[in-house]
Symmetry: C2
């Protein structure tokens, strides 16, 4: 913790200053972003929440972002058109960058279908602060898990521009981890994410 003192108008302004490092020390771990990407109903959100639970048990400060807490709030003005999807991911990236600066371990579960958009988020963070986890699952399998019936609606053309059906999904080329959720158990996958976070030295 350092102090910045400036003088102007004959008044000494004392700017208390708490850095990312100070906050990380308080939390006992580094700030980081675990970015899950994959089709709708591939299991991103389930695994992210399981990882959060495991991290919380270890005393880590965590937060999960998904469509539920972003699409109705920060990005409520955006559609699913490509340019709005890009803006959606841009805003999320800028927001989670600040959460990482706050010394938190952030887990995000967004389809985030475009490589370019994910690359931009990675570029906002320092090396080692961004871990991309690709949750791979064929659309046919996702469709069988889909409780809301959105895959059926997409196939019938009722929902337009649906990723994996009528809109593209660009799989990551060099993700830090691949989870094959069509043959891998979610709790096993969550443990592999924890192992990755440990290996990267983000938690002890």
């Amino acid at each position: 913790m350092t102090d910045k003192i400036s003088k102007n108008n004959n008044v000494t302004w004392f700017n208390g200053y708490v850095s990312r490092e100070d906050r990380e020390k308080l939390h006992g771990h580094n700030g980081a972003l675990i970015w899950f990407t994959g089709l709708s109903a591939s299991g991103k959100s389930t695994i992210a929440h399981m990882v959060e639970k495991l991290l919380h048990r270890r005393g880590c400060s965590t937060y999960v972002f998904d469509g539920d807490n972003v699409r109705h709030g920060l990005c409520s003005d955006l559609t699913f058109r490509p340019e709005d999807r890009a803006e959606n991911i841009r805003r999320i990236g800028e927001m989670v960058k600040l959460f990482v600066d706050a010394g938190m371990i952030v887990l995000t579960a967004f389809i985030s279908p475009y490589r370019k958009d994910r690359r931009k988020v990675r570029s906002l963070l320092k090396d080692g602060q961004f871990l991309e986890v690709y949750v791979e699952c064929p659309p046919e399998v996702c469709a069988t898990r889909d409780q809301k019936g959105i895959y059926a609606k997409a196939k019938a053309g009722v929902i337009k521009e649906f990723t994996g059906i009528s809109a593209p999904y660009e799989a990551p080329e060099n993700p830090e981890l691949v989870i094959r959720s069509y043959k891998e158990d979610a709790s096993e996958a969550a443990n592999r994410v924890i192992k990755l976070i440990e290996q990267c030295g983000l938690i002890k």
Copy 2:
């Protein structure tokens, strides 16, 4: 910490679930938003950073938002026109709501000139989670403190729609605290904010 278990596709999905209360327990204090409002160079940011430092020393998880970390990132596409100012505050409100849900004490230092916009942010949070702090200071005094010379530029008409000079500032009607930074020392003001946070039961 509760568990949500759902069954579909013959697979048991176990959704680990960490609540705001769990995160607050971990941090040892409640999540809250301390919203500083006032003219440019009124001292909002200085006081907010001093409060953060005092809270951090007491082991609180904190974060300060101001123009520096928001206008260049999340809101880099917005101008200073009234409709963009409203969108700026809307996005900040939605973002900090999630920080509060993450169990952090958030301090924001934005001019936020319109009552309507500030009221909207208040409405996003629960009673007692939002504390409005009005940093009152006459524009003439702010101008003498202004290191960047933006008041002079605003008076000369070089900068348009400058709050307090050529754009309106709507003072809060019922703020939780008023700081008169033209006659009150910043460190004294910061201590009064801490006292308010204590009185509201947000920290012990």
